[in-house]
């Protein structure tokens, strides 16, 4: 016989885990959250296995009449939304400490999941800031910074468009970085004071896989070797995509007679 309460707890726990995993949380945090929510529902035996591509949860209340339940959730697209991680983290603690009902918990989670990112314009502006300041840090002039801002905005919009089309991260980084290199080369050949190096580096920094590296290391640290390896490969793939994108455009530019300054 299926215990309805147990099933509801399972759904809440898996939903919380899914939100965290899709927004770039570490494995141990996801597993902790599931365990904590299940313990709050007084379920005795809980086993979680989370990887960046899927979550498996199995639980048994220990009563003789109840069947053990298992739920598998496949994770497809992942991004980085640190606010959602923080909120689900707080939610799981609150769920454990207070007597929130399962339905209330589900409502809170739905609200967290619905939460929007910062407005589109603000994010594009942030991309411009990132690119222009990195261009300056890596030896660019004011003009380079301005061009990098333009290239950052266009590449960021481009990458959001790709994300909506569900293109994988390698192709996305490849094309975004290609576009950045093209803009930088056009600027360098038409504006006397601009040089393409800092502009391209500034834009590359926007797509660099810092989050993947960090999460991979934190997964290794807590003993989740499988997840760590998966994330390290993701980081490598993105890095290769970035380098190839810029490389192909630079090479084609050189071959078609454009001069590398």
């Amino acid at each position: 016989m299926v215990n309805v309460f147990q099933k509801k707890i399972l759904i809440v726990a898996v939903y919380a885990a899914e939100i965290m995993m899709r927004n770039g949380a570490e494995i141990y945090r996801v597993e902790d959250t599931v365990t904590r929510i299940c313990k709050a529902g007084r379920i005795k035996h809980v086993e979680v296995f989370a990887t960046p591509t899927g979550i498996f949860v199995s639980m048994d209340s220990g009563n003789e009449n109840d069947d053990p339940l298992t739920y598998i959730k496949r994770i497809h697209e992942t991004g980085t939304n640190l606010s959602k991680i923080s909120k689900v983290n707080h939610f799981s603690r609150e769920f454990f400490d207070t007597d929130l009902s399962v339905e209330e918990g589900m409502d809170i989670l739905r609200e967290i999941d619905r939460e929007e990112e910062y407005p589109y314009m603000v994010r594009t502006l942030a991309a411009a800031i990132v690119c222009s300041f990195f261009a300056v840090i890596f030896g660019g002039t004011i003009i380079d910074a301005l061009v990098a801002a333009i290239s950052g905005v266009s590449c960021y919009c481009f990458s959001i468009m790709f994300r909506k089309l569900n293109v994988n991260s390698f192709i996305r980084c490849f094309f975004c970085c290609g576009l950045a290199a093209l803009i930088a080369l056009l600027a360098a050949s038409s504006i006397p004071d601009a040089s393409y190096d800092p502009i391209i580096i500034g834009t590359i920094m926007l797509f660099v896989p810092g989050a993947a590296i960090t999460n991979a290391i934190r997964d290794f640290l807590s003993g989740d070797m499988l997840a760590g390896t998966a994330r390290l490969m993701e980081a490598l793939l993105i890095a290769v995509g970035l380098a190839c994108g810029a490389g192909v455009v630079l090479k084609v530019w050189e071959m078609t007679g454009g001069v590398l300054v």
């Binding site: 640190l82 920094m205 490389g247």
Partner: protein
């Protein structure tokens, strides 16, 4: 390097600020995140100035970011990933990646090997920095708990 340490600090802070928006850091943590990113980059710059290699400087920068993130995550009662992910971004060797690719295009294999090693080691140094600091903090916390339990 023509720019002074102070301007480097400011620029890195503002660049990290941009990342906090893109990664949607909660509003109350944005300032601290930018500060951590800037201090990590400052450590890198100061270490380079004292003659450390880029790899060693990256390691020290990553250690700073990990330590500060842990402290602030305890103070502000939030997950430490929220501080580490934006904070680490300035240290990730994007420039090395680009130069490596440039050498490959110019068919300069020895230059490519140099840059590739440098870039991979820098990325590795970030990893080791986070790893060392993370385990160290974990050990200190465990020891603290044991001592408190003993008395």
């Amino acid at each position: 390097m023509t720019t002074s340490l102070l301007t480097q600090f400011l620029y890195a802070g503002l660049a990290t600020f941009g990342f906090t928006i893109i990664f949607r850091v909660p509003k109350s943590d944005i300032f601290v995140c930018s500060l951590i990113g800037a201090l990590g980059w400052l450590t890198y710059q100061v270490a380079s100035g004292y003659g450390f290699t880029a790899v060693m400087a990256c390691f020290l920068g990553a250690c700073t970011v990990a330590l500060l993130s842990d402290i602030f995550s305890k103070l502000l009662k939030d997950a430490s990933t929220i501080f580490i992910i934006p904070g680490i971004m300035p240290l990730v060797p994007g420039a090395g990646m680009y130069r490596m690719m440039l050498e490959l295009i110019n068919n300069d294999m020895s230059g490519f090997a140099t840059e590739a090693t440098q870039t991979l080691l820098s990325a590795g140094a970030i990893a080791v920095g986070l790893l060392v600091m993370g385990s160290l903090l974990k050990m200190i916390r465990m020891a603290g708990k044991k001592i408190r339990a003993a008395f």
